[in-house]
Symmetry: C2
C-alpha cells in the first residue's frame, strides 16, 4: 500500500503517483519486486538536487580558482579554458552539454592540474570557504540552501525502503563529498563524480595530476556507477542530456522539468534530447511548477 503521507512537498498528480507506485511495487512481493541488494538509486546533482542557473555551482567554484590562477600567471589567458573564462565566452563551456571530446579533454586537464598536489584537508577547506561565502545571485543564498526539498524527501523515502542512494554528477566527486553528509544525508562513499587519482605518499593522501576514469557525464555515468557499485541503478533521476544514459540504464527513471521561472528557473538548454527520450521511454516527468508545492524549504519559509 502506498503511504499517503509520503513526499509532502509533492503535489498529488501523475509524477508523485508514478514514484510511489514504483517504490511500492519494488518493495512488495510480486512481479515487480526488486531484491534488497539490487535497490540502488542514483541522482544527478546539478538541476536535479539543486539549482544550476545561472551557472552550475561547481563552475562558480572552479572559475574563481581559475581566475586566481590567471591573476597569478597572466600567460594562462592565452590557453583554454582560461581564455574563455577571461573573455566571458560561456559558449566554450557549453561543450560539456554537447559532450564535445576536445572541450571535455581541456576541462579535465585543467581540473586535474589545478589541484594537483593538494591534500584532501586543504581541498575541503577551500570548498567550505566557497560554501559559506559565495551566494547564488537570484536568491542571495549559499548554493547548499538551494537544494530541492522535494528531492530530499524522495531520497529519504527511498532510504526508508532499503534503497542505497547515490549521487552521480558530472561535478567533482571530492567537491560534493564535502557537503554530502550534512546536506543530503548521504555518506561520502555514495557520491560518484568526476575525480582525480590520489597518491599515498609519506603517510598522506595527495591529489595526482590524473583523472580516475573520464568525465562523469553521458555514458560516463553508468560506467562510474557500475565501477562504484557493481550494479546499474534500479531508480534514477536526472534533468539533462548528459543524464540520458544513466536514466536509460535504470528500471525507473524520472526527469526534472525546469518550468517555474518564478520560484526557480525556466529553461530547456541542454535537455531537449533528454525530453525526447523521456517521451519515447515513458520516463516520469517532474514539473517543478506543477509537481512541487515547495522548491526550497529555506527560501520559502524565510
Amino acid at each position: 500500500m502506498p503511504d499517503t503521507t509520503a513526499l509532502p512537498s509533492w503535489n498529488e498528480g501523475p509524477a508523485k503517483q508514478a514514484v510511489l507506485d514504483y517504490i511500492d511495487a519494488a518493495t512488495t512481493p510480486g512481479p515487480a519486486f526488486v531484491a534488497i541488494a539490487d535497490r540502488i538509486a542514483t541522482f544527478d546533482n546539478d538541476g536535479t538536487l539543486w539549482s544550476e542557473q545561472p551557472l552550475a555551482p561547481q563552475f562558480d567554484f572552479v572559475f574563481r580558482r581559475w581566475g586566481q590562477e590567471v591573476a597569478a600567471d597572466p600567460s594562462l589567458a592565452g590557453t583554454q579554458p582560461y581564455k574563455a573564462l577571461v573573455e566571458r565566452d560561456m559558449s566554450f563551456f557549453a561543450g560539456v552539454e554537447t559532450q564535445d571530446p576536445e572541450t571535455i579533454k581541456t576541462l579535465l586537464a585543467a581540473f586535474t592540474r589545478c589541484w594537483s598536489g593538494v591534500t584532501p584537508e586543504d581541498f575541503d577547506a577551500e570548498v567550505r570557504v566557497w560554501l559559506e561565502t559565495v551566494k547564488q545571485p537570484k536568491f542571495d543564498a549559499p548554493y547548499v540552501e538551494l537544494v530541492y526539498t522535494p528531492m530530499l524527501e524522495l531520497i529519504e523515502y527511498l532510504k526508508v525502503h532499503d534503497f542505497r542512494v547515490f549521487v552521480c554528477s558530472g561535478g567533482g566527486r571530492d567537491f560534493m563529498r564535502v557537503f554530502a553528509e550534512q546536506t543530503w544525508g548521504i555518506y561520502k562513499e555514495n557520491v560518484i563524480g568526476t575525480a582525480a587519482e590520489y597518491r599515498y605518499v609519506g603517510g598522506r593522501i595527495v591529489r595526482a595530476e590524473l583523472a580516475l576514469g573520464g568525465l562523469n557525464i553521458g555514458p560516463g555515468k553508468p560506467e562510474h556507477i557500475f565501477a562504484q557499485t557493481g550494479r546499474l541503478p534500479a531508480f534514477a533521476g536526472g534533468n539533462a542530456d548528459v543524464d540520458i544514459e544513466m536514466l536509460e540504464s535504470a528500471a525507473f527513471a524520472l526527469i526534472i522539468k525546469h518550468d517555474d521561472a518564478e520560484r526557480e528557473f525556466a529553461y530547456t538548454t541542454g535537455a531537449d534530447a533528454a525530453f525526447t527520450r523521456a517521451e519515447e521511454l515513458g520516463w516520469t516527468v517532474v514539473s517543478v511548477k506543477d509537481d512541487w508545492n515547495i522548491v526550497y524549504a529555506r527560501v520559502e519559509t524565510v
Copy 2:
C-alpha cells in the same frame, strides 16, 4: 562495556581484548570516540578473510583462464606472464609481493587484456563455475568455504557497532563482488580491488582493456580506499607486506599471523616487513593458532 559474548570463535587473550577495547572506546563518548560517519573498516582478503595457500585463490582462477588462452594460442607461451605459468616458475609471481613495477605492469596488462570486451554477466558466470567446481587441495573444499569464521564474526561485530565494512584486496574487484554478498554479507559497493575500466556501449556495460587506477596493493590500498570512500580507515586488518600502507593509515590495525600448520598453514612469506612494522607501531597480532578456537566453521563442523 565490552560485550562478553562477542566474537565466540576468538579465544580470550590480548588480541581479542584489543579488538573489543578499541570498538568499545570508538563507540563510547570520550576521548577515543569515532563519529559514525568516520567508522570505516577495511580488510584485505587473501590471507586475512580466507586462506591463500598454496596459491591465492584468484591466481587459481586466473591461471586456469590463462592456461586456456595459451592452449588456444601457443605463441603466448613466449611472453610473460604466460611463460612463467607454462614453465611453472612461481618466482615470477612473487614480484607482486615485492611490488616489482615491471611484474605489476605485466600482470595488470594481462589481466585487463584477458577479459576485455566481456560483459559483467558473462564474467560472473565464469567466476561462479570456478567457485562451484574448483577445490582447494589441502581441504578438498571450494575456496569460499575456507573463509575464516572468526573474521566473519568480526565483520558482523563491526557492522553492529555502525562501522561500514569494506574489503580491500589486491585481487580483482569484480571477482570478489560475485561472492561478496553471500559470503561476507558485504554489498558489492563495499568491495575494493584491482579493477578494469568499463564502457557503456549500446545500452550495455562492457569491460575495457584498461585498468582503473593501479594494482590495489601497497600504497594502492589507501589510494583506492580514499577514492571509493572519501576517507582512510578507522579500523583495518591485513596479513602481508602489501597491506602495510593500509594498516599504517588506520587508527586501529590488526595483522593475522599464519602459525597453524595443522588447522590452516604456517608461513611468513611476503609478511616479514609487515611484522616488523607491527612491532614498531603496536598493531594487534592475531595468531591463528592461539587466538582462534575455530578456523573454518565448514571444515571443522563436518
